[in-house]
């Protein structure tokens, strides 16, 4: 696959350079149809290097999961993908991250519109303390996505439907979103992210605050959503990564160590570190 890409793009020197995989990364770094591409990304907090030379493609309409020991930089890298790290003063990033060929760190890119394209779902379900309807409608409203009330209604309904929540909440759209159960709240948050029609949805440990049943439902939803969205998920649960993702990337001490098909990674990882982590062999 990566070979194919290599040939296809050999024409421009830019691309050749881009194709240089860092020495510390093995596996299928590139994909056929990338939605986002990261090239030699470094992230520093002050002088502390949190992410070092990460090069990876995020395939369109796929679920990719980031796993790795605590503090290895999964969240940091994830948050770079929609510039949520901008809010941290000490955070600096170098390298190049593109979505559909737009460099997201280009000064001309408005971070607001970037975040509308790359939505985010967080660890703890965080519905706004508003009604369910307003939770979903908030994004479309600030982005001016609906020209009138009925368009907005449509967006709300469809987002909830896609998040598999419509039947559970359609009778109480005017009740507060905080009154839902944890799992429902998390699906509400996913629906809210969907409502602005993003291309990519980033999720940082979206199930770690949920019980197994709610987790199963959210996982199921994530797996279904990949037909329409590109999804990046950070998870502490290797099993979860195994269940929901098409591809898996293993981070270690700020480096991307291995990336590949989830099946491969979990049955036949290539890198010793990956193998050790997955089989529970850390010191």
């Amino acid at each position: 696959m990566s070979n194919m890409n290599k040939e296809k793009n050999l024409s421009t020197s830019q691309n050749i350079e881009n194709r240089a995989i860092p020495a510390h990364t093995i596996g299928e770094v590139f994909v056929d149809k990338p939605r986002m591409t990261a090239r030699n990304v470094d992230v520093y907090y002050d002088d502390k290097c949190a992410i070092q030379d990460v090069t990876i493609d995020i395939g369109a309409q796929q679920v990719i999961s980031f796993i790795g020991p605590s503090g290895c930089g999964k969240s940091t890298f994830l948050r770079c993908l929609n510039r949520m790290n901008d809010t941290i003063d000490t955070c600096r990033i170098s390298g190049e991250i593109k979505i559909d060929n737009d460099n997201i760190y280009d000064p001309n890119i408005d971070v607001v519109s970037l975040r509308a394209r790359v939505g985010m779902v967080f660890q703890k379900p965080n519905p706004f303390p508003k009604t369910i309807y307003d939770n979903i409608a908030y994004g479309p409203r600030i982005h001016g996505l609906a020209n009138n009330k009925s368009e907005l209604d449509d967006i709300v309904e469809h987002s909830l439907e896609r998040a598999g929540l419509w039947n559970e909440v359609k009778d109480r759209l005017d009740k507060p979103g905080t009154g839902l159960s944890g799992g429902q709240q998390q699906r509400l948050c996913i629906a809210r992210a969907i409502a602005v029609s993003p291309e990519v949805i980033l999720m940082d440990e979206p199930c770690s605050a949920l019980d197994p049943i709610a987790t199963a439902k959210v996982e199921e939803l994530i797996y279904e959503l990949r037909n329409q969205y590109t999804i990046v998920i950070v998870t502490h649960s290797m099993q979860q990564a195994a269940r929901v993702s098409d591809r898996t990337a293993y981070f270690h001490l700020g480096k991307l160590v291995e990336v590949g098909e989830t099946k491969e990674i979990f049955i036949n990882p290539k890198h010793e570190l990956t193998q050790d982590y997955i089989t529970g062999r850390f010191g």
Binding site: E219, E220, Q239, A242, R243, K263
Partner: protein, 239 residues
Amino acid sequence: MNSTQDAHFDHISQQFNVELDDIRTQLMNMGGMIEQQLQDAMQSLKKGDSSSAYAAIKMDDDINKLEMSINDQCARIIARRQPAASDLRFIIAISKAITDLERTGDEIKRVAANIIKLVEEGATEISASEIRNIAKSVSGMISDSLTAFARYDVELAYAVVKRDEEVDEEYKTAMRALVTRMMEEPRSIATSMNVIWILRSLERVGDHAQNIAQHLVYLVKGIDVSHATAEEMQATIDK
């Protein structure tokens, strides 16, 4: 608890349902291929035409591939889904069953090879009826064991096990007849050996069908009956 057929298809994770269903379908396909293969081999014997026996041999490749693919999927499910309880037993039973099916395929391949020899020697008449009888029996066993699998039907599985005893009897009778024949007609020894190999392979097919039926009992009841006697198995089923 007793698993029921549908029990595998109502997980919260639809994808898991699909994966399990897929495996089950492939198991059935494999079974279908085996039956086809056996039928092809028998066809050759009946018609005295080796072409379908060659097809049967060739089919073994596909069966092998299918086995590898199912094996792979089982590994994937274990790695990705952490199956437990009935799901785990399902995976284990399937993975054992396909090993048996694959070996069945090998045996039938041997049957086909020997039939080809018979055809080439024009000796298809020798013991044809015994062969056909046994082949019919074991074909039924295979088919029944897979039906049992499809329906989680332990009674049917028990029937398969019982039936293996009959097949063994038939086999022994046919064997004795053949040895007698060889003694009487030493010229036919080479040919008879072919028939012997055929019968022996068919008998093994029956054994494999019995194994599959036992895997089903494990799947449904959670108890390993692979080395149990028919009575012990009956006791397990009645639990």
